[in-house]
Each structure stands twice: as structure tokens, then as C-alpha cells.
């Protein structure tokens, strides 16, 4: 296979992976625990988008907004009622709780929709060929969506009062508290935003192939790899990490069968922790 084609595929996969990775990084930076529930929320978002798209007949873009809102709403509710009470008991208890939550929610999806794979209702279109590299129009649209979403997230964090408050809490919680920032409100906003991005990401990933209750779980390792490679808790890092993981996964196809893609993500985690534990932009891992 052509290396340039693989790199192009990797950049596009990474661009899409960046969406949930940003969500994870944002949640980690404020709430300080690895939220494994991101997997089930990505699945839930993908199915919500599927209902909007395949059952209600909405076009893809409005369906993506449905996926975002559904992921966010479920994220807000589960964080408020399930995960928030755990935080007092420590980060690891919360992380285990989030793993139980992800399995529970995944099975709620399975209970309602069953195990079969479902595809979105997409218009057929021919690949765009650019300098010998094939690009699917749907992939291109996914990448554009994710670029727009990333721009919005960065705008939100840089220019709005709430975004600045969120960064303040991430940077120094006691100081943010002294300045009168309501940490609970920030936690709610970041849960909505983070899980909304997870839901959106779940649907974007599903648009490329099909969805089933394990959709989110399958991409959980790459999402975490992206966040760890970029530096857990760093949002620009998550974008860079996602691109690195995306390209590395595609390039691994030169040597390994496709089913080993997730393993590449794991190797990326191990490698970055051994060489540069802070990741590209992040804090200390030790």
C-alpha cells in the first residue's frame, strides 16, 4: 500500500479521533480522573445520531448535533448522579466507578438496540482523488466537522468567561475557589462538553463504517492513547496525540493485520510513558 495514502488516512482518522480525545483531556484537566465512561457515551451518541439519521431521516449534520447533545446530556446526568459522589473517595475509586458505568451503559444500549451492526443513511459519493491519494467525501466532511468543533472548543476556552473559569479550575483549583469560581458548575459544564464531544466523536467514527454497542469501547484505547501521548489533560496535546496515534495506526498496516490497530494505541501509551511521560504538552505522569 502507498505510504502517502496511509498517512492521509491516518491524518483523517486522527482528526476524527481528536474530537473525543479533546473531550477526555478537558474532563481530565478539571476532574482529574481517567473517565472510562467515555466509551459508553461515544456509543450512546452514535446511537442517538443513528436514530436521528436513519429513523427520523435527518441529514448527517443535524444528526451529528443530536449525537453531541445526547452524549452531553447523558454525560451531565451520569456525572451528577453517578460519578460525582465518588470523587471524595479518590481518583481511582472514581475511575473504577466510571469503568462500571461504561459497561452498564453499553448494556443499556444493547438492551434497547441488540447486538447487530447498524449503518447510517449516507448519500453515495465517489472518492476525491488528489495527487494520487483517494479521499472519501464523507471522511473529508468528518474532518471538516472536527476542525470546526475544535475551533469552537478553543474559542470557548480562550474567549468566554466560562471557558476561562474552566481553565482556572484545571490549573489551580484552590486559587479558582478563592476567586469565587463555582467548581461544581465548572464540573457540570466540562462533563457536558467532554461527553458531548465523546458522543459526537462516536458518531463520526461510526459514519466511516457501522455502529454496534461496542463502538465506543473499541475506540477507547486509541482515545486514551491520544490523550496520553499528547499529555493527559492538555487539550492541544490531545489534538497532536490523536494525529500521532491515527497515523501510527495506519502505518502499522504496513507490518501488521488491521485487527492489531488497538495494540498500536497501547504501544504508543507504553512508549510515550517510557520516553517522555509528560506527553507532548502535558504534566508529569510520575
Amino acid at each position: 500500500m502507498d505510504v502517502l495514502q496511509l498517512i492521509a488516512n491516518g491524518m483523517m482518522a486522527g482528526g476524527v479521533l481528536a474530537v473525543p480525545a479533546i473531550g477526555l483531556a478537558a474532563m481530565y484537566s478539571v476532574l482529574r480522573f481517567p473517565n472510562f465512561a467515555i466509551a459508553s457515551h461515544a456509543t450512546a451518541g452514535a446511537f442517538a445520531g443513528w436514530i436521528a439519521n436513519a429513523s427520523l431521516g435527518l441529514p448527517v449534520l443535524p444528526s451529528l448535533i443530536v449525537a453531541l447533545l445526547a452524549g452531553g446530556a447523558i454525560g451531565l446526568l451520569t456525572d451528577e448522579f453517578v460519578l460525582r459522589p465518588f470523587r471524595r473517595a479518590g481518583f481511582i475509586t472514581t475511575a473504577i466507578g466510571s469503568l462500571a458505568l461504561t459497561i452498564g451503559l453499553e448494556n443499556v444500549v444493547r438492551l434497547v438496540f441488540g447486538n447487530e451492526m447498524r449503518g447510517y443513511d449516507l448519500p453515495l459519493a465517489r472518492d476525491v482523488v488528489l495527487a494520487g491519494i483517494h479521499i472519501g467525501p464523507q471522511q473529508l466532511q468528518n474532518v471538516m466537522v472536527s476542525v470546526v468543533v475544535m475551533a469552537l472548543v478553543f474559542g470557548f476556552l480562550s474567549f468566554t468567561r466560562m471557558g476561562k473559569a474552566m481553565r482556572a479550575v484545571a490549573d489551580n483549583p484552590p486559587l479558582a475557589d478563592i476567586k469565587g469560581i463555582d467548581a461544581r458548575m465548572v464540573a457540570r459544564i466540562v462533563s457536558f462538553m467532554g461527553m458531548g464531544l465523546a458522543g459526537l466523536g462516536g458518531m463520526l467514527i461510526g459514519l466511516d463504517s457501522s455502529i454496534d454497542p461496542l463502538t465506543g469501547f473499541r475506540v477507547m484505547l486509541p482515545i486514551f492513547a491520544a490523550a496520553v501521548v499528547g499529555g493527559l489533560g492538555s487539550i492541544p496535546g490531545a489534538v497532536a496525540g490523536a494525529l500521532v496515534v491515527g497515523v501510527a495506526e495506519e502505518l502499522s498496516l504496513l507490518a501488521l493485520p488491521p485487527s492489531y490497530k488497538s495494540t498500536v494505541a497501547f504501544l504508543a501509551i507504553i512508549l510515550i510513558l517510557a520516553v517522555r511521560p509528560r506527553g507532548i504538552f502535558g504534566r508529569e505522569a510520575y
Binding site: 473517595a89 481518583f91 481511582i92 443499556v108 444493547r110 486514551f224
Partner: protein, 313 residues
């Protein structure tokens, strides 16, 4: 019915062994491991391959499984001991998934997703199913007893006290002149080996293993066992495992009573019940049924329940 009861007893005993293994890492040394099932898979596959492909006797297979699990545990631990808990959680979870992916793909070795069947069980050919289950229960109970004694010895030995100290404050351990990293690797390797033994025992009991058996849910069941019984406490680990298996099995009968439910939905329902159970236990009963004994411990902060490290920022 008797066979069924015997078989859940066997499974409960195997879970108890796993819970003891987790207790060495998590309860005693405070090392997070969300990839427990990876060690079980390594033990199960090694033992299965040694006995089916190489035709060696079952005890040799089990021993090989334990050694493989010890080795992989030590390796994983060497890479991760310096990491903070949050990273350890991610890495260990990724480790278990990676083991599962490798087991699904290396078809020449593991037969892929079809799994390995025909794994020998002790005297399976000559005994009736009833006798076989009874014999196997006796074997696993003996091994559980052995592991229990070993774990108990570890808990009260100087080695165990260092592990406790690492859990409570690993800086102090360093100040006291102990190399915390070596102890952590050892604890991780021992725990992983015990879990590997459980995996091997499972393989020889059911005679069939496949990658799909080793899902993260199993890790959660074992965590739940330990949390129910009381982290840091071997008696609690055994009691907790028994409770988890009884609840798990009873949902098998209760869920089909729900009208209009398909088998897939039933399975989903059971997993929902179990994960909700774990969330509730985590939320409300952090000390477990058998709280950790305080007699051999010196200073412990009151809010540091469940043997988990205190939340420090």
C-alpha cells in the same frame, strides 16, 4: 442440580483465588490493576497450550501458566511502577485488551476467536460428570487454601508490612531505606501469578477457552468481590467472591422471568445489574463486610477507607 451447585462452587472458588491475587497488589500494596483479566488469560492460555499442544501433565501446565503470568506481571510492573495511579489504571486496562487482541489474532498459536477446546481436566475421561465436578471442587478448594495461607503469610511478614507502608505512603518507605520499586514489582508479579493460576484452573475446568471470556467485566467482578469482602483482607476476599458468584448466578434465573426478553437482552440485563451493583457497593460500602484488621497496622488516617490511597492533589 448437584452438578450445577458443584460447578458454581468451583467457579466461586476460582474467583476467590483471583480476588486473593488482586488483594496482594491492590489491597496490600495499593497498586491499581484494571487489567487483572489479562493475567488470567495468560495463565489460562499457557496452561491450555502446554497440556494440549505439548501433551504435558496438568500440574506442569498450571505451573507454566503461573510462571508466565508472574513474568508478564513483572514486566508490566517494571514499565509502570513509577507511574501515578491514573496512568497505571489506563496502562493496565490497555494491557488486558492487548492480550485479548493478541489471543484473537495469533491464530497459529491460540486458534483465534474460535478458542482452544479439548483442554484436559484431571481424570475427566474416567469419571462421571458428578464425580469430576466433586473432584475438581476438592482440588480448587485445596489450592485456594494453599494460596490463602501464602497470602496470609505475605500479609503479616516483613515483606507484607513494607507493601502496606508503600500503600499508605511510599515516600516514607524510601526514607526508611527500602527500595519501594522492587517491592512493587514483586507484589505485582506475585499477584499476577495467583491470578494466572486461577486462569489455568478455569481452563482445565471448562476445557474450553476463547478470547471473549477474558473481558474487562471479569476484572470488575473480582474488584467487586474484593470491595464487598473488604479490601486488604484475605478472608473478605474469599467471602466477597462467593457472594458475587451467587448473585451472578441468581440473575441467570431471575432475568428470564422478565416477560418478552430475548437472550441477548437477558445477558445485557445481567451485566447492567452487576455493574449497578458494583457502583452501589463502591458508593456505600467501601469498607466491605469484613473490614481490614487494624491489629498489625500502626497509624492509619480515619478517612482512608477501603485501603485506597488518600486523595492527594
Amino acid at each position: 442440580m448437584v452438578i450445577y451447585l458443584l460447578s458454581i462452587s468451583v467457579v466461586a472458588t476460582i474467583y476467590a483465588v483471583m480476588a486473593l491475587g488482586l488483594n496482594v497488589m491492590w489491597g496490600t500494596a495499593g497498586l491499581v490493576n484494571l487489567g487483572l483479566v489479562g493475567s488470567a488469560a495468560v495463565g489460562a492460555y499457557t496452561s491450555a497450550l502446554v497440556t494440549t499442544r505439548m501433551g504435558l501433565p496438568i500440574p506442569v501446565g498450571l505451573l507454566a501458566g503461573v510462571l508466565a503470568a508472574v513474568l508478564i506481571g513483572a514486566l508490566l510492573s517494571l514499565v509502570t511502577t513509577r507511574l501515578k495511579d491514573n496512568y497505571l489504571a489506563i496502562v493496565t486496562l490497555g494491557f488486558a485488551e492487548t492480550i485479548r487482541i493478541v489471543a484473537s489474532n495469533e491464530i497459529w498459536l491460540t486458534n483465534g476467536t474460535d478458542g482452544i477446546s479439548g483442554i484436559p481436566g484431571p481424570l475427566r475421561a474416567v469419571l462421571t460428570p458428578l464425580q469430576f465436578n466433586a473432584l475438581y471442587l476438592a482440588i480448587v478448594v485445596c489450592l485456594l487454601g494453599l494460596v490463602y495461607v501464602v497470602c496470609q503469610r505475605i500479609l503479616y511478614s516483613p515483606f507484607g508490612r513494607v507493601l502496606h507502608a508503600i500503600r499508605d505512603d511510599d515516600v516514607v518507605v524510601g526514607v526508611a531505606g527500602k527500595n519501594g520499586r522492587v517491592f512493587k514489582v514483586q507484589a505485582f508479579a506475585i499477584g499476577s501469578g495467583i491470578v494466572g493460576l486461577a486462569g489455568g484452573l478455569y481452563a482445565h475446568y471448562t476445557s474450553f477457552i476463547a478470547p471473549d471470556l477474558f473481558v474487562p467485566l471479569i476484572t470488575l467482578y473480582v474488584k467487586l468481590s474484593l470491595l464487598l469482602g473488604g479490601v486488604g483482607n484475605n478472608r473478605g476476599a474469599v467471602v466477597g467472591a462467593a457472594i458475587v458468584i451467587v448473585v451472578l448466578e441468581s440473575t441467570r434465573f431471575l432475568v428470564p422471568l422478565i416477560p418478552y426478553i430475548s437472550p441477548t437482552q437477558g445477558a445485557a440485563m445481567r451485566e447492567i445489574i452487576l455493574s449497578a451493583g458494583l457502583l452501589i457497593v463502591l458508593r456505600f460500602r467501601l469498607k466491605g463486610l469484613v473490614p481490614e484488621a487494624h491489629d498489625h497496622l500502626t497509624v492509619r488516617p480515619q478517612q482512608n477507607t477501603a485501603g485506597l490511597r488518600p486523595a492527594t492533589t
